[in-house]
């Protein structure tokens, strides 16, 4: 177990640049998720950490030692692949034993028949069998040890792949979308199990996923990647509540955050020509965007800031998501309502919405967060 530093790593495939200078420090025992849409470079970054790809520039250090030039087999990392990549001709036990055999036994000892005559092979084999049994028991797959991967279900294969990763004591675990081939129910269950495994092993985990729910539920920190860069790396609640970039705000959170166009008229902050407050400094930009989470919007009858009509309803039982087409420009916003408010949300019903300016996030036209503007706006609101 050790910490891991990624220092301004870039990667080009011919003309296309997949990683544009990624820097990330992972602390010992931390669970970090690399999350982002497909093609953002998160898998490439993981493979560079693993040593399966070489970076065009930049460095990778594990436990303070630069491993950039070291090959994957010598980096002492374990990886769980999306396809699990189990050896189809080996039984579960043999699959899990492979990393130990490859590292602990000499080439001579691994020979099929002769190997068992080589001195020390017997005890080595017993030790490995012991370790395999231990790993299998931890993952509750001890009953499957004699089967071949072809006879296992997706979830079982996934566990075997995990077993193969944790049977030795690696510096860090790298997981490449390990849950994406599982069905929804199993995914939820395995999610919890992996998080628990992390707590138990206290090992460094780097987890690649495109699923923000997995990232939110399991990680200590989330690194949101887009277009070959890390936009923000922070704890899940910070990523959700206090994103640095509009792309982070849009990517994290389901349903998606509502984005409304806001403008500065003189010192006034306006949305659809309605003044929200008038204490902005003159040097803040004229055109801005405001992000409002669905739960930041409230139904209101008196003096609504926004009005519109319900166009779509999603009742999840514990909560209701309503899509509302705004009267002002026809754009849609999503509102989270409580089930008891459902009677007010018939399809086509006119609704009024209000929101607390404290919950609003303001971004500039390019998507960068404008905390100064927010601060001015909320202070003004309080005074008002």
């Amino acid at each position: 177990m050790s910490d891991l530093q990624i220092a301004s790593v870039t990667k080009h495939f011919g003309e296309t640049s997949v990683l544009k200078g990624v820097t990330l420090d992972v602390k010992d025992g931390e669970f970090i998720s690399l999350v982002g849409p497909s093609g953002c470079g998160k898998s490439t970054l993981l493979r560079i950490i693993a040593g399966l790809e070489t970076p065009t520039s930049g460095n990778i250090a594990i436990g303070g030692i630069n491993v950039t030039q070291l090959r994957a087999a010598d980096r002492n990392l374990s990886m769980v692949f999306q396809s699990y990549a189990l050896y189809p001709h080996l039984t579960v036990a043999e699959n899990i034993a492979v990393p130990l055999q490859m590292r602990q036994m000499s080439a001579l000892q691994r020979l099929p028949v002769l190997g068992s005559i080589v001195p020390g092979a017997r005890t080595q084999k017993d030790d490995i069998a012991q370790a395999v049994r231990h790993a299998a028991e931890m993952l509750e797959i001890a009953a499957l040890l004699d089967r071949k991967p072809g006879q296992l279900s997706g979830g079982q294969r996934q566990r075997v792949a995990l077993g193969r990763a944790l049977v030795r004591d690696p510096a860090a675990f790298l997981l490449d979308e390990p849950l994406s081939n599982l069905d929804a129910k199993l995914r939820v269950q395995t999610r919890a199990e992996i998080a628990e495994l992390h707590r138990r092993l206290k090992a460094t985990f780097i987890y690649v996923t495109h699923d923000q729910v997995e990232a939110m539920t399991m990680s200590d920190r989330i690194a949101v990647m887009m277009g070959g860069e890390i936009l923000q790396c922070a704890a899940p609640d910070v990523i959700y509540e206090d994103p640095d970039d509009i792309r982070v705000a849009e990517f994290i959170g389901s349903p998606k955050i509502n984005i409304l166009p806001v403008e500065r008229n003189g010192t006034a902050l306006t949305v659809f020509d309605q003044v929200l407050n008038s204490r902005l400094s003159i040097d803040s930009p004229k055109v801005m965007q405001m992000g409002l989470r669905p739960e930041a919007l409230q139904l209101t009858q008196s003096a609504p800031r926004l009005t519109g009509r319900v166009v779509h309803l999603e009742n999840l039982g514990s909560e209701v998501f309503a899509q509302i087409a705004l009267d002002s420009d026809g754009s849609r916003v999503t509102l989270r309502a409580m089930p008891e408010q459902r009677q007010n949300l018939g399809l086509g019903a006119p609704v009024g919405l209000s929101f607390d300016l404290n919950a609003a996030m303001i971004f500039d036209a390019g998507g960068a967060r404008l905390r100064q503007v927010e601060l001015a706006a909320t202070r003004a609101a309080e005074v008002a």
Binding site: R47, A50, A72, F81, A85, L86, Y87, P99, M102
Partner: protein, 323 residues
């Protein structure tokens, strides 16, 4: 009491419907079954029956000779030479052409676009008819004016003569190749390998494309440092089914070798019958000498070998290499 139990009524009509359906089914399958029987099975059965006779084509009748034909196959020295030649060929050509095919496939597979050029070149001998190529080889291997011996003669007078083969060759002349009973079968083997390994390479290449790339990455992560370890852990097991198939096909092709022998020695299967392979024996006895009985007996023996090989293949595929 008027109502009839519907299940009873159904019981009466159902067998009739079943019968009709079965009859239609047989009727529809009949042409295929008859053709299969006539075209595929009857000739083999006929050969089997004829192998117990002394029939010759054109004779009005024949006598049953029992196992006499088979007895000859196992007693006469000609047939002993046939077995020696056939098995020498099979045992030499199969492992070497499979090994070379695998090696070439691995090398070509590791290349990018240049691989296609290699693929084409290695496959050329497969595409060229062996009969035509045999004529080219015959010229090259001609003892006095052939390219091979002339090239070897160039080594005379140089340090190559340290090697006994060259020393002898320069002193007493290089081998006659096709005319030398010690070399004839090996030349045939060489041409068989030269011609066959490209085909095996193509089969192995097809097998290699099905190996999951992530398995190599997994092997690397698991600590397989050398190419050999990755080959042992990933490639070789993944190629198991392909290998069994390639070996079987190569064996059958090797048992069937005929055209080279026929092109080189139309009159007798090599010097002192040293290249008298089974297929040539069938041809010589059954067609040239019109001894249908003995020809059929060799054919049956040949079928037995091939059948045996196929059974081994099936057993291996089901037991050992199928995951």
């Amino acid at each position: 009491m008027v109502a009839i139990d519907p299940s009873l009524a159904a019981d009466v009509t159902k067998p009739k419907a079943d019968n009709r359906q079965a009859r239609t089914g047989w009727g529809l399958a009949a042409p295929a079954l008859i053709l299969m029987f006539l075209i595929l099975l009857v000739p083999i059965i006929a050969a089997g029956v004829l192998s117990f006779t002394n029939y010759s084509l054109g004779n009005p009748s024949f006598d049953w000779v029992g196992l006499q034909n088979y007895e000859r196959l196992f007693t006469r020295s000609t047939y002993e030479k046939m077995y020696v030649a056939t098995f020498t060929y099979v045992v030499t050509v199969v492992p070497i052409s499979v090994g070379l095919g695998l090696g070439a496939a691995l090398l070509v597979h590791s290349l990018g676009r240049i691989g296609d050029i290699y693929k084409t070149i290695y496959f050329l001998p497969v595409m060229a008819t062996l009969l035509a190529m045999a004529i080219a080889w015959e010229f090259m291997l001609h003892p006095t004016i052939g390219m091979v011996n002339r090239t070897l003669e160039m080594a005379c007078g140089t340090w190559f003569e340290v090697i006994p083969f060259f020393a002898d060759g320069c002193a007493e002349g290089f081998p006659l190749w096709l005319g030398d009973r010690d070399y004839a079968i090996w030349v045939v083997c060489f041409i068989g390998i030269w011609q066959g390994f490209g085909f095996n390479m193509v089969l192995f290449l097809a097998g290699l494309t099905s190996v999951h790339r992530e398995l190599y990455h997994a092997a690397e992560m698991d600590g397989a440092r050398s190419g050999w370890e990755r080959f042992r852990l990933v490639t070789w097991p993944a190629l198991g089914p392909t290998t069994v198939f390639v070996v079987t096909i190569s064996c059958i092709r090797a048992f069937q070798v005929f055209d080279t022998i026929e092109a080189f020695w139309p009159q007798g299967g090599g010097p002192n019958k040293s290249a008298y392979v089974m297929m040539f024996a069938i041809f010589e006895k059954g067609i040239q000498q019109n001894l249908i009985g003995i020809g059929s007996a060799i054919t049956m023996l040949f079928l037995l070998f091939v059948m045996f090989l196929t059974l081994i293949q099936r057993w291996l595929v089901e037991r050992k290499v199928h995951y």
